[in-house]
């Protein structure tokens, strides 16, 4: 046999073996099989990232697996908002949890999506180094603060508080940073503070190097950050599917806010099966105190979104006034108002 034939056979054998192993160990067949179903029977793909703002998504998926009808949608974990945005635009994801300003900016740029529900309320905060000498927000003058994205409520809350303290954008150096990196950067004193959603403030607290300077709700009552966004074509063609999705998220929110045992159980299964995070971290974020993040009162209100819109315009990330009724579809939230919490006792294996 010639050398060329030996090499070709070697490459063929290697490719076959590695492909067979990958197909066996790593490929999730559920989305592949789902894509081959007729559209009316196809489950929608819902994108989320591993933060507590999106917790209702994995909680709904987990609990509905124990119901007679099974799970309502296929959750897909991403690592950042830009990838979610692109997957939504290209219709690879039909719904997604994302920060409200990004959803509003997408709509204003002509992407056919609508906000249908909130993901949570509260759950963001500004964290400083425990020994950094920062006692009030005014002490941050001239210092560096990390934010997750220019299209985030975590950035807007910083601007809102800056105004209260008579500070301007020039008084603070704001840097965009991937949320998973902020706790390490604070520990290494590469930044002086960060404004992020949970569980990253909890991570800094648990690590013993961070201190919450303030929670968002202290300066922004009814604070909301992430919202549930759905593609317009799905709303037009399958409104009943969107309603089922919103109902499921609403029921999960009510279940999560039903007391400490539910939150502790959620921290355990979400940490282990969805987020790959230490359940202790999620438990801290969800129970310290219990209303650190809240998953009820998730109907979108005009006043909340007008506030976000005005702050976006003021801080230069939105170039025109957009109206609540144009980019929010409230009928699904209205339809979910009468929902009750899931009847699911932790570890029972049965839900309805």
């Amino acid at each position: 046999m010639t050398d060329a034939k030996k090499v070709a056979l070697g490459v063929l054998a290697w490719t076959s073996v590695v492909s067979a192993l990958h197909l066996h160990f790593n490929v999730d067949w559920a989305p592949i099989l789902n894509d081959r179903l007729p559209e009316h029977r196809r489950k929608i793909n819902v994108a989320y990232i591993p933060v507590t703002c999106h917790l209702a998504c994995p909680v709904t998926d987990y609990i509905t697996r124990f119901t007679k009808t099974g799970n309502l949608f296929l959750p897909k974990m991403f690592q950042g908002f830009p990838e979610i945005k692109e997957a939504l635009i290209s219709n690879k994801m039909q719904a997604a949890f994302m920060v409200a300003p990004m959803a509003m900016a997408l709509w204003s740029q002509g992407v056919p999506v609508k906000i249908v529900y909130l993901g949570h309320r509260y759950g963001s905060g500004v964290v400083v180094h425990k020994d950094g000498g920062v006692r009030t927000f005014a002490d941050l003058k001239g210092k560096t603060i990390a934010i997750p994205s220019r299209f985030s409520d975590e950035r807007l809350i910083v601007f809102r508080v800056m105004k209260k303290f008579n500070m301007t954008a020039a008084d603070l150096k704001m840097v965009e940073m991937a949320p998973p990196d902020v706790a390490g950067a604070l520990a290494a004193r590469a930044i002086d503070a960060f404004s992020m959603g949970e569980p990253f403030p909890s991570q800094a607290e648990m690590g013993g190097f961070g201190r919450v300077l303030f929670h968002a709700r202290e300066h922004w009552p009814d604070y909301m950050s992430c919202v549930l966004v759905v593609r317009q074509d799905l709303i037009d063609r399958r409104p009943e599917t969107v309603q089922a999705l919103v109902d499921g998220i609403a029921r999960s929110g009510l279940w999560l806010d039903d007391g400490r045992p539910h939150r502790e159980h959620a921290a355990d299964f979400v940490g282990r099966y969805y987020y790959n995070q230490d359940p202790k971290l999620l438990r801290w974020a969800l129970t310290n105190p219990l209303d650190r993040v809240v998953y009820t009162a998730l109907t979108p209100y005009k006043e909340d979104f007008d506030l976000v819109r005005d702050l976006m315009i003021e801080t230069g990330v939105l170039d025109r006034r957009i109206e609540f009724q144009d980019y929010v579809d409230t009928r699904f939230a209205e339809g979910a108002r009468r929902q009750t919490p899931w009847k699911y006792v932790p570890n029972s294996g049965v839900a309805e």
């Binding site: 050398d3 060329a4 990958h22 790593n26 990232i49 991403f78 690592q79 949320p179 706790a183 230490d278």
Partner: protein, 236 residues
Amino acid sequence: MLAWDILIRWSPGGLLPRPWEVVQGLTELAQKGLLFKYIVASLFRVTWGYVAAAVLAIPFGLMLGWHRRGELALNPLIQILRPISPLAWIPISILWFGVGDVAALFLIFMASFLPLTVTAMNAVKNILPTHLNAGRNFGLSPAQIVLKVIYPSVMPQLIAGLRITLGIAWLVVVAAEMIAVNSGLGFLIIDARNAGNRYDLVVAGMVMIGLIGLVLDLGMRRLEKLKSLRWGYASE
């Protein structure tokens, strides 16, 4: 290892792992069965992206090198596309291929295709005219010229290019696995960043990428030692 350990003691923040903690992290991953799965996933993506690029880029590059007009027409485009980092293709790969293996394969393909095209193109241009003329003087047909003159002439350069490009493809696996795949050594690094204070797993992923990169390079070096190619290298 000692230098690593000492540097960690001096590093600010105290979050970076010491060598022993990384070994423990690797053990934990192996015990959970994740290490093998992730290695397989990364190797699968690199294999398919790289092999697809090689299968298409080598004939394409050889053709461009052989036909001067083709080179004149397409080389400017190739040189414009070549410096673009594979990271810049991430948004486009998601818009075209969605999320999952195909988008990741596309990024690895893009990282490999253009370097291999240029290598093949240059390899043809570097064939000594004496060899081609000798082949023609012996009355070889065009097909025989390709098999008996061009093929053996370009192989040493192609193998060197293949070896360098495999290194690039393996380098890109972290970026390729950032985009919504849920397995692989690149995913391990991204996922560990999200998992709180698990920098031991971040470094464990880096160590595994380095070690497997070394093994892949050793495999490519074996190709260089094949008898039919040895003429292109200095005698040991």
